[in-house]
């Protein structure tokens, strides 16, 4: 394989893994709660700002500037966004589901869309419009192969993504709570009958989505900076990925993310970089023409 193509493939896979992390939270919430969370991009943004606040010395706590190591800031940022996710579930989404209204999913979409705008404009007014960069996870450029160097932070983000994707898959498929989540995703009424607390599953799903989005936002903050609308494009890619992978399929989302990363990377140089963000939609249309339920989605009947 030509070295130049190899370099593009490596970058594509790395970017795909980063996409996967963003898409995972979306797919978890969708599969469990049937909510298309339009504010997921802002959860991502909050992860970045949380890391910045904890590590860059921009925030003082009792007159002492907070300058934690980024590696310590990462889990704290994840937890902060997870807590925010729980608050959103408790304060905004649960009332919709417990109000016995028709079409709660549609109300939830409008709610999350409103939340997205609120958070974006809130960040603009409170934190300001300018780009911020928290400290680095892995400083400098790293030699990959031949003449290919990539940023240490980008590599760290990709490596951590692999770990977090693995941990999420283990949690979903290998633990009782994960199986209960899957059961809730498949049949909410049936799950209730067998004793699963579906409200608790909703909380777990939102917390998990917050953890993953917070991780993505914090990990990518040193790579792509943090600013109020930083989550806009990633969340659109996330939607493409979950549809491409098969709505609700976690493994499908991971595979779709890597495919998308590769297509964008190779398409940018072999077709045109001007249409980089269009490739995602071309792939989506192509796959849906032949597999309307996505790569690993299952034809299912809702109960």
């Amino acid at each position: 394989m030509d070295y130049y193509i190899l370099a593009q493939v490596i970058n594509g896979v790395i970017f795909g893994l980063i996409y996967a992390l963003i898409a995972l939270g979306l797919t978890v919430v969708f599969s469990i709660m049937r909510v298309v969370n339009f504010s997921h991009g802002e959860f991502y943004m909050l992860g970045g700002y949380a890391l910045y606040a904890l590590t860059a010395g921009a925030v003082t706590l009792f007159s002492i500037p907070l300058i934690l190591p980024t590696i310590v800031g990462l889990p704290l940022a994840m937890v902060a966004v997870a807590i925010f996710g729980i608050l959103v579930e408790r304060g905004l989404l649960r009332p919709v589901y417990t109000a016995r209204m028709d079409r709660p999913e549609e109300y939830a979409i409008i709610l999350t869309f409103g939340l997205s705008l609120f958070l974006q404009y809130g960040a603009l007014v409170t934190v300001g419009p300018y780009e911020m960069t928290p400290g680095s996870f892995w400083e400098g450029s790293k030699h990959i192969i031949g003449d290919l160097y990539l940023g240490g932070d980008r590599l760290f983000a990709a490596g951590t993504s692999v770990f977090l994707i693995g941990a999420t898959l283990f949690f979903i498929y290998g633990t009782w709570t994960g199986r209960a989540l899957m059961a809730t995703a498949q049949n909410r009424v049936g799950s209730t009958i067998v004793g699963i607390n579906t409200v608790r599953m909703n909380i777990t799903a939102m917390a998990l989505a917050g953890l993953l989005a917070g991780a993505a936002g914090a990990l990518l903050a040193p790579v792509f900076l943090v600013y109020p609308d930083v989550g806009q494009i990633p969340v659109i890619k996330g939607f493409v990925i979950i549809v491409l992978g098969g709505m609700g399929s976690i493994l499908g989302a991971v595979i779709a993310a890597v495919i998308l990363g590769l297509v964008e990377s190779l398409g940018s140089v072999y077709f045109s970089v001007a249409y980089r963000d269009v490739f995602a939609f071309l792939v989506l249309i192509g796959v849906l023409l032949f597999r309307p339920h996505g790569l690993l989605g299952q034809k299912a009947r809702r109960v």
């Binding site: 370099a7 970058n11 921009a58 603009l124 007014v125 780009e131 911020m132 806009q232 963000d277």
Partner: protein
């Protein structure tokens, strides 16, 4: 007890965000209404819009403090155009038909300006462009449209002149998918022909909202191998390109210089916060130099900015101030708020702005109603964290303090 440090910066934004509503110059009584437009929210360059609006506001405040215009206070009505051409056109229609402004100034994105000038032209209302650089705006030849900001072909000629003077034979560019971005690439091509420079130039158009530019940068690094990479992508895209070019060890490097064609690097504190050590050796093409003495008015504006924000201004508040100053002076000179009288006064205008003596050319083409002598500079940061005022001036020759430094 949590306290955020960026208070000054924030208060600036909060102030300007509030201007989506109207800024009333007086509590009561008759006023002269002037419109202002700028991107204040996504997907527009909301980092730049508030800086431009600040200049518009300060000019209005100074006129009002000195007794207003034609004995009346000025009421500035600013709207957010979000960087969207349809929003720009709608906002201008509203300013003219509902708010009844007699003239307007401002705007940052060329593509938005392009939509806006059509509405101004249709209604015959004068408009002084704040900071849209595309040549096509003045080339349209509309009687109502004037420009105090720099224009793309002038910047392109400067960049080509610097490249030719430094023996650069191969240049590549990444430009954003807007009128400004594509315009500057085409202007560089034209300037190479016009100046008969022996430079092999190619460019690629990128989506300014993209996050990963590594694929195209890898292509440039391994296959094109330019001696200079010219980037005409506004922030945050421009900052990301610089970070990523640095990460893959492409530019700035001994082999490949990096030239920021948007001048976003001039906002030094923001620039260094975002790009850290990737910014060392970056060249930038700008319509203002903090190290070159401004007019007395310009120095006062600069001092006011530094005392308020604790950092050097970039070119935008100055361009905003100059646009509004020209407009209000023309209304004063016209002795009337009639559109035709204001346009006539703008054509005959001679006023000392923040960066020099402003007058509008009556020639055709890109110079139609353009301030031809608008200053432009090329600088280079040679140290990490360097202030824009300490950056080496490379162009024009009479102000040059150094030659290009390579890593």
């Amino acid at each position: 007890m949590i306290e955020i440090r960026h208070k000054k910066l924030l208060s600036q934004f909060a102030l300007v965000a509030a201007l989506s509503l109207s800024v009333s110059a007086t509590q009561a009584g008759e006023t002269i209404k002037i419109g202002g437009m700028a991107p204040l929210s996504s997907p527009g360059s909301y980092q730049q819009g508030p800086e431009l609006v600040l200049g518009l506001e300060w000019a209005v405040a100074d006129f009002n403090a000195a007794g207003g215009v034609l004995g009346k206070q000025i009421e500035l009505i600013v709207y957010d155009t979000q960087g969207r051409p349809p929003t720009g056109a709608t906002v201008v229609e509203k300013l003219i038909t509902q708010d009844k402004v007699v003239a307007a100034a401002g705007e940052y994105h060329s593509s938005v300006c392009k939509a806006e000038i059509e509405v101004f032209h249709q209604h015959g209302i004068p408009f002084v462009i704040g900071s849209c650089w595309s040549d096509s705006l003045t080339k349209a030849g509309y009687d109502e449209v004037f420009r105090t900001s720099v224009y793309s072909s002038k910047l392109a000629e400067n960049m080509v002149a610097v490249m030719a003077a430094n023996g650069i034979k191969k240049a590549a560019s990444l430009v954003e998918d807007t009128d400004y971005g594509i315009g500057i690439a085409k202007n560089i091509e034209s300037a190479i022909k016009k100046l008969n420079a022996d430079i092999d130039f190619q460019y690629e158009v990128v989506e300014k909202t993209s996050k990963d530019f590594v694929p195209i940068l890898l292509k440039y690094k391994t296959q094109v191998k330019p001696e200079v990479l010219i980037v005409a992508v506004t922030q945050p895209g421009g900052f990301l390109i610089l970070k990523q070019a640095h990460e893959i060890r492409f530019a700035p490097s001994r082999e490949t210089l990096y030239l920021d064609g948007t001048c976003t690097a001039q906002n030094d504190k923001v620039f260094w916060e975002a790009v850290k050590d990737a910014g060392k050796y970056v060249l930038m093409s700008c319509p203002y130099s903090p190290s070159v003495k401004l007019t007395d008015l310009g120095e006062k504006i600069k001092e006011r900015y530094v005392s308020q924000f604790d950092r050097q201004p970039n070119y935008l508040p100055l361009q905003g101030y100059d646009a509004m100053l020209s407009l209000l002076t023309a209304i004063n000179n016209a002795g009337s708020t009639d559109s035709k009288a204001i346009i006539k006064a703008l054509k005959a205008l001679k006023v000392t702005g923040t960066r020099g003596d402003i007058e509008f050319s009556q020639e055709d083409g890109v110079w139609h109603h353009q301030w031809k002598a608008v200053p432009t500079f090329i600088f280079q940061y040679t140290e990490v964290g360097q202030s824009a005022g300490d950056a080496a001036v490379l162009f024009p020759k009479q102000f040059a303090t150094a030659g290009i430094v390579r890593p």
